[in-house]
Point group: C2
Chain length 308, copies 2
């Protein structure tokens, strides 16, 4: 089934306790596309870069089956750039530089070949751009998933609330869920957020796993306990990419299959943090991913033969 | 199989955003005993109270099958008293009052009827007292589990390290694991702590669940996502009580059965936080516990029919 991903394709410069990078390739769209590519032979991206963006990297995406027709290359303009530094315990990060560049006036283009897509993944971008993409699809996809962040809650809450009404799943982290709902308890937050539009809510809790809420149902997916998190950048996007890649490839968005998709997404995210940027995500084998998913199966597997 | 629990039987005064209590019954030994009582018809406690401790409460424990032969009542002395206040988000608490009273010179008595016990649960007490109990058992139990806290790491690290060498399982929270090991990563912390003595380590992460480490194996148990945590006091002890009650009642301390025991302990802890103090734990039905355990089974259950 066909998947369209909307998200930034960008430059990042990252500093962690383990080292620092020069400008490397990043962006929500990049991480989502790399991650979902392991589940989909073909997919489509909507994004924008400047003329400074390396052709080599575009080729890498193309080689992963990513259709770049919807990726605009703006001559005379520069690619979005973000630079950040993580704290020693990796639990917080400071943004050092944000240069919007081509993202400032991003007007998404939906090529004809993207029309009729079954699944839409709206990576973190302005809610205005996200809803423009939905409008420009002549048919509503079967399932629309969306990511967002605190930043948009601070400066564009009204737009965000409008966009929320048009999506099926919201995928955010615990802090964002608390800010969006004004509730500290994630269970209460989840109830409130699901009155805002999305029938499904995934709350990512980083090293503590993820929760999926729908109706009265809740699913708790673990994170793999890791000896070292080398670079958390893009882990959330990688999770979303694995999740939507799995959903789209199986063409099944039942609650039961969403659980599996969350495990797939979590497995992909566990690879992402092992190296800087997209490095680890660029060259995984199917068997590595299968083994990792099996580690997740083992991690929470128990058989309650006797209760009390 | 027989279980001996060592731990405080005490008075608490608790303040949470939901209200405050007068002096109510608390103490690690009390929570452990109430919790394990749902898995064991009979069990034994080693503890000490002052003459101010209400007979009514001792009767409640007795009615739950708790043998009080090893519980000393010190005439002319007062029961241990702790008072604490939780922050608005319940994520931290301040100790307002600690009156050691009878605990100051606690010299544990192991009645003849306790000798030959199969399982020993050392609740949080001075490591000195914990190791005295082990010494006073003429035969080593099949399995010795132990809890401790930051306080003992601060003032009695040498004693603590000695006691650690004598136990099989250590049950502590994430903060304590980090302090004990000097490692931020829980995977690294777990490795280090298991060189200190215990072959098994359980790290409790509160609302984020619990991890069990043994050899190269790891198990991740979820916590039940709760709308409201009314009072977290005693949740860790209740977890330990459910865990050891389950192990002792099934007389099986394989890794597979420890996983089940962790789910049982987590289910008991999820009840504990629903009301102030031991209130909720005093009158549970078997079917309530079975239903709650089933909620845990549902919570992480998935069937990975297809991977990648």
């Amino acid at each position: 089934m066909s998947l369209v991903t909307v998200g930034s394709v960008a430059f990042d410069a990252i500093e962690t306790p383990f080292g620092k990078t020069d400008k490397i390739i990043g962006g929500a769209g990049t991480y989502i596309a790399f991650s979902s590519s392991y589940f989909m032979e073909k997919q489509n991206i909507v994004s924008v870069v400047g003329e400074d963006f390396p052709q080599e990297m575009l080729d890498k995406l193309k080689n992963k089956g990513v259709n770049l027709e919807g990726l605009q290359i703006k001559e005379g303009e520069k690619t979005f750039f973000w630079s950040g530094k993580y704290s020693n315990d990796m639990n917080s990060r400071d943004t050092l530089v944000t240069e919007l560049n081509v993202l400032e006036h991003f007007d998404p283009i939906l090529p004809a070949s993207y029309q009729g897509c079954d699944y839409l993944m709206l990576g973190n971008l302005s809610p205005q751009v996200q809803s423009t993409v939905i409008e420009r699809l002549t048919e509503r996809p079967k399932l629309i998933a969306m990511d967002t962040m605190n930043f948009w809650m601070d400066i564009a809450m009204d737009d965000l609330k409008k966009t929320l009404q048009e999506v099926d799943i919201l995928i955010i982290n615990d802090e964002e869920a608390r800010q969006l709902s004004g509730e500290y308890s994630l269970v209460k937050a989840a109830k409130k957020i699901r009155t805002m539009g999305p029938k499904y809510l995934i709350i990512k809790k980083g090293e503590h796993g993820a929760l999926l809420f729908h109706g009265d149902q809740v699913f708790f997916a673990p994170a793999l306990p890791l000896e070292e998190v080398f670079d958390p950048t893009g882990a959330g996007d990688t999770f979303a990419g694995g999740f939507m890649g799995y959903i789209a490839s199986t063409d099944d968005y039942s609650f039961e299959n969403m659980k599996r998709a969350i495990i797939a997404g979590s497995a992909m995210a566990s690879f992402c943090v092992e190296k800087f940027g997209t490095e680890k995500l660029e060259n995984l084998s199917k068997s590595e991913i299968e083994d990792r998913i099996q580690e997740f199966v083992q991690l929470t597997d128990f058989d309650m033969v006797q209760t009390v």
